[in-house]
């Protein structure tokens, strides 16, 4: 692989950009791989990447039914934060956030990580107490967050209406090292690095069945034929239940639509990420100038990658009240993704009832921020059968009642 650098740009500028290589190969599937990862989204690609980089397992295929990064990785609002309440959450999300800091150098691919700061507004007494508690918890977890008063909130976000009347801003939880990254670039960067290690990216290849023998996985059937494997990692977000069904077990997951939308591009208006969880909307400004807006999920099971119109209306209405200046903006594009929701709104990184099959799912509405940490932990779990970061995210927690309850911990919007 030719490295990207300022010299490469200069060299190519002198020869009409004729020398750029393809970023990744599109090979024919082999007969057998040591590990097959199903799902070439951020989490799947990161899992494969750390399998190769940290554990030296490079005979790996990443199978994707569509195109890489075309699911939730390319559909989210690119927010990165780690200000969670529970210790296991803070550990894995903070690992992810810290890996994001060096990811562009690590992958030799600019993922445009922008630690611009992230605010979670407190607009009720209850939220204020909740976030203050989260700040205390974060301080104990070595996650840098702090509580700021309304005056400082207004200084950071001048377009914010802090006076109310319905939802006055009583303060905010600030994570200065939170921010955004370019979501496509994260998938593309990992894909390029995986391909460079000799891993096979099999796009437009749908898994149609999982083959097992004596309670152990032996391979998968795909639209491009059968492929054998030693281990199988299922990292398919919204379709986790479908894949689990093929392997013969059930997951505590329900698939639902989550939508996002962007406004027409405008001049720099807001240089932090703002989350207003009480009214359930969040907003940041992309480098193109579009305001990127997200809200809550629909309440019913859905595989259609489109959501209910009234959620768009409700979230936009709430954000107009929070940011009156955006009321005349036109919305440009709107889309939906299928998120995999667990009962406690925490992910599942786990062994399964079938020997050799591992699942990484349940990231629900907040998976993008976790991609590097999730891949790191999942790779360790697949390679060694145990990962300290993933230990408490096993499926056993539902039987044992050991929930990592982020839904109660005000983690409604991610």
């Amino acid at each position: 692989m030719r490295r990207y650098s300022i010299f490469a740009v200069a060299r190519e500028a002198l020869r009409y950009h004729s020398g750029w290589e393809k970023a990744w190969a599109s090979p024919e599937p082999k007969k057998r791989y040591d590990v097959i990862v199903v799902g070439a989204g951020g989490h799947g690609l990161a899992t494969a990447y750390y399998l190769g980089k940290v554990h030296g397992i490079k005979n790996v295929a990443i199978i994707e039914k569509g195109w890489l990064g075309g699911g939730n990785t390319g559909r989210n609002t690119t927010i990165i934060r780690s200000n969670y309440l529970q210790d296991p959450s803070a550990a894995i999300y903070e690992k992810a956030r810290s890996l994001y800091e060096g990811l562009s150098q690590d992958l030799n691919y600019n993922v445009m990580f922008s630690p611009r700061g992230l605010l979670m507004l407190a607009q009720s007494e209850h939220e204020m107490r909740g976030y203050k508690r989260t700040v205390y918890a974060n301080n104990l977890q070595n996650v840098e967050t702090r509580w700021i008063e309304p005056k400082e909130v207004k200084k950071l976000v001048p377009i914010l209406n802090i006076a109310g009347p319905r939802y006055p801003v009583l303060g905010a939880l600030l994570q200065e090292k939170g921010g955004t990254a370019r979501h496509d670039a994260v998938a593309w960067g990992y894909a390029r690095a995986c391909s460079d290690m000799g891993m096979d990216l099999l796009q437009n290849t749908e898994v149609t069945g999982v083959r097992t023998a004596g309670g152990k996985v032996v391979g998968v059937d795909t639209t491009r034929g059968s492929i054998d494997c030693g281990k199988l990692a299922i990292v398919v977000a919204g379709h986790s239940s479908v894949l689990a069904g093929m392997a013969g077990f059930r997951l505590p997951i329900e698939s639902m639509a989550l939508q996002a939308w962007v406004s027409e591009p405008i001049k720099p208006t807001i240089d932090v990420v703002v989350m207003a969880n009480l009214v359930h909307g969040y907003m940041s400004q992309s480098d193109k100038g579009e305001l990127v807006i997200g809200g809550g999920t629909d309440g019913f099971n859905n595989y259609s990658q489109r959501g209910s119109w009234h959620h768009v209306e409700e979230t936009t209405r709430a954000l107009i009240e929070t940011f009156p200046v955006i009321s005349r903006l036109k919305m440009l594009r709107q889309w939906g993704g299928i998120v995999d929701m667990t009962g406690d709104r925490s992910p599942i990184l786990s062994k399964t009832p079938v020997d050799g099959i591992f699942v990484n799912c349940g990231w629900g509405t907040g998976g993008f921020k976790a991609i590097p940490g999730s891949g790191f932990a999942m790779a360790e779990l697949v390679a060694k059968g145990y990962s300290p970061l993933a230990a408490e995210f096993g499926m056993h927690r539902f039987k044992e009642g050991q929930f990592i309850d982020e839904s109660v911990a005000a983690g409604v919007a991610h």
Binding site: H239, R250, P252, E254, S255, N301, Y303, H310, G343
Partner: protein
């Protein structure tokens, strides 16, 4: 927008008038059940890509719970029926089988 007919009051209403209530026909387990039974009842879900039986409440109408059979991909509604039953009506199952020949059944 998703519209459903409430079998209790008979009106066809938009989704904003309804509250979704998740998978229908779950067998309830309580004290005295095994851990596995209780876990299955509480958390394990079919979450099918296709025909789904689900609970809805006519929250801003008659307030009653009812059940619906709906496709989670196309949002096609096969029918709704009152909640006072442990399994879907036979004629509804026949109708779904006719429309979706490959359907593996509701259990």
């Amino acid at each position: 927008m998703l519209t459903l007919t409430c079998p209790c009051c008979g009106v066809t209403v938009e989704e904003t008038e309804l509250a979704p209530g998740g998978e229908a026909h779950l067998k309830r387990f309580g004290p005295g059940s095994t851990d596995a039974e209780f876990e299955t009842y509480m958390f394990a879900r079919k979450n099918p890509k296709g025909v789904h039986f689900e609970r809805w409440r006519h929250a801003y109408g008659c307030g009653k719970w009812f059940l619906a059979a709906r496709c989670t991909v196309s949002w096609e509604v096969f029918g709704t029926y009152p909640a006072q039953t442990t399994e879907p009506p036979a004629e509804l199952i026949a109708k779904i089988k006719e429309k979706r020949p490959g359907w593996e059944g509701w259990k």
